[in-house]
Amino acid sequence: MLHAVEVDQLSVSYFETTALERLSVRLTSGQLIGIIGPNGAGKSTFIKAIMGLIPAEATSIRLLGQSAKQARTQVAYVPQRSAIDWDFPIRVIDAVLIGCYPQLGLFKRPTKQHRMRARACLDRVGMLDYADRQIGELSGGQQQRVFLARALAQEADLLLLDEPFVGVDAGSEGVIIDLLRVLRDEGKTILVVHHDLSKAADYFDTLLLLNRRIISVGPPQDVLHADLIEAAYGNPLAFLQKVEVSS
C-alpha cells in the first residue's frame, strides 16, 4: 500500500518548549485524514514540519513516496483564514491563478491556458460568479472555497488544510466536505487539521489524534475512545460534551 505521508522520529521545538516529540506515522494515500487534538497539541506544527516550513528534526520525512523536497510542488497547502491579509489587492481569479505558480519556472508568466484552468477550478467549487471580486468581499466559507480552488489549480496529489472550517457557515462547510470527498475519490490524499470532535467521525476515513506525540491513529471508531480522548485532552468528557451539544 502506498503511503502519502511517512514520518520517522519527527521532533519540533520552539526555543525551550517541545511542540512535537519523536513522532512516527504512516498515512495511506487516497484518504481523507483528520488531524485532531487539543489546542497547542502541535497539529498545525505537524503540517508545517512535513512541508519543511519550520525547522524540524526527523530521521526521515517522505511525502508521496519522495523526499519532502522533491514532492513540494505536488503538495498544496490551504492556510488558516487568519493567516491571510484579506485586504490584499487581489481578485478571486488571480488568487486561484497563484495555484499555477509552482509549475511555472522563474520569469515565466501564467498563460491563457493557466487562466482557463483557474476558471475551471473556481467553477468546481461553485465560485466562478465571484471571479472578479476582491477576496475580502467574500464570506468566510467562500474564501475557503477559493483557496481550495487554488489547491485544485496546483493539481497536487496531497492537500494539507489548516482548520478549513473555522469561521465558515454550515452551508459552505457541507460544500467543502463534499468536494474533499470527491477529491479523495479521485485518488488524492487530504490532511485536515480539525478541532471539532463531534463531526470527526463523520468526515474522515482516518484520524490522527495528537498531543505533542501520537496518541492514536486509525479509523475514527477506534480513535474516538474515551480513554484515548482523555489521554489527549486530559478530560474524557471533551468528546462527549461536544457530541451532546451538536446532537
Partner: protein
C-alpha cells in the same frame, strides 16, 4: 509666477529639465517599490533602510568610490543585521529595526561631519533637486531601469511572497531571497532619491503614493501603475512649487503626495471616507 512661466523655464533651463527627469524617475520607482513595501507591512523597514544608507554614502566619499557601492553595502548590512537580531533573540522585529537603523544613521552623521560641510549633510538629508548634475540624472535613470526590470521579472514571486508567504515557501520559493532582493532594490531606490527628496523624506515617497493607490483599486497590477502615476504627479507638481516659491524640493514633493492622499482618503469611490459614511447611514436607515 504661473504654470506657463514654469513650462517656459523648463524649455529654457537645462538644470530644470534634469531636475524634472530625475524627480519623475524617482516618483515612478518609489511608487512601484512602495506598493510591495506597504503590502508586506514593511513601512518601518523602508524608513530604516533609507536611513541606513547614510554611513555608506559617507564611507564612499572617504574612500573616493562611487557612493552607490557604499550605500548598498550599509543598507543591506543593516537589513541583514535586523534579520539576525530578531531571529536570534526574543527582540521583536520592529524593535530590532529601531535599534539598528538609528545606530547606522548616527554613525553616518558622525562620519559625514568629519568629511564635509554641514550644507552637504543638509542636502543628503533633505535633497536638492535643483542641483542635480548630469551624472546624477543618468545614475537615477539607470537605477530606475534596473529596478523596474527586476520588478517586471520577479513580479510573480513578489506577488506570491507578499500575499501568501507560507505557500511560497511550501513550493520551494526562497522567501528570504525575495526579501533581500526587495531590500537591495530599496537601497538602490533610496540612493536614486538622495537628490530629489533626501534620506529623511524618501520613505514618504515610498509609502504615500502606494497607500493612495491602495485606496483606489483592488488589483495589484493597477495599484502599481496608479502608484507610479501618483508619484510622478507629486514629483512634477512638487518641483513646480519648489522652483516657483523657492521651497525645499523634497518637502514640496512630499506635501503634494500627502495632499493627493488626503483627497483620495476622503473621496475614493471604493474605500473613501465619504463612501464609508454613506454606507453606514444606509445601514442605519434600513
Amino acid at each position: 509666477m504661473t504654470i506657463i512661466d514654469f513650462i517656459h523655464a523648463l524649455t529654457e533651463y537645462d538644470f530644470l529639465q534634469k531636475s524634472l527627469v530625475t524627480s519623475v524617475m524617482v516618483g515612478i520607482i518609489c511608487g512601484v517599490i512602495g506598493c510591495f513595501i506597504i503590502l508586506r507591512g514593511m513601512s518601518l523597514m523602508g524608513d530604516a533602510i533609507s536611513h541606513a544608507v547614510l554611513p555608506g554614502v559617507a564611507i564612499s566619499y572617504l574612500l573616493g568610490i562611487n557612493f552607490f557601492i557604499g550605500a548598498v553595502a550599509t543598507g543591506l548590512l543593516t537589513a541583514l543585521g535586523i534579520g539576525f537580531v530578531s531571529q536570534n533573540s526574543r527582540i521583536k522585529n520592529d524593535t530590532a529595526i529601531g535599534i539598528l537603523f538609528t545606530s547606522a544613521f548616527a554613525l553616518g552623521i558622525i562620519l559625514i561631519s568629519f568629511l564635509r560641510s554641514s550644507s552637504d549633510l543638509y542636502h543628503i538629508l533633505f535633497g536638492n533637486v535643483l542641483a542635480v548634475r548630469p551624472s546624477d540624472m543618468w545614475m537615477t535613470l539607470a537605477i530606475g531601469l534596473i529596478v523596474l526590470a527586476a520588478i517586471f521579472l520577479f513580479y510573480k514571486e513578489l506577488l506570491v511572497t507578499s500575499f501568501d508567504p507560507t505557500m511560497a515557501a511550501a513550493y520551494g520559493l526562497s522567501t528570504r531571497l525575495i526579501h533581500y532582493l526587495l531590500m537591495t532594490m530599496l537601497t538602490l531606490v533610496t540612493v536614486a532619491s538622495l537628490q530629489t527628496v533626501g534620506i529623511i523624506l524618501v520613505v514618504a515617497m515610498l509609502i504615500t503614493p502606494a497607500a493612495t493607490a491602495y485606496l483606489l483599486t483592488n488589483r495589484l497590477s493597477r495599484m502599481i501603475f496608479l502608484s507610479a502615476g501618483l508619484g510622478t504627479i507629486s514629483s512634477v507638481v512638487g518641483l513646480y512649487f519648489s522652483f516657483t516659491y523657492n521651497l525645499s524640493s523634497g518637502a514640496s514633493i512630499v506635501l503634494v503626495a500627502t495632499a493627493l492622499f488626503a483627497l483620495v482618503f476622503i473621496f475614493s469611490p471604493r474605500h473613501g471616507l465619504l463612501r464609508k459614511w454613506k454606507s453606514a447611514k444606509k445601514e442605519l436607515t434600513t
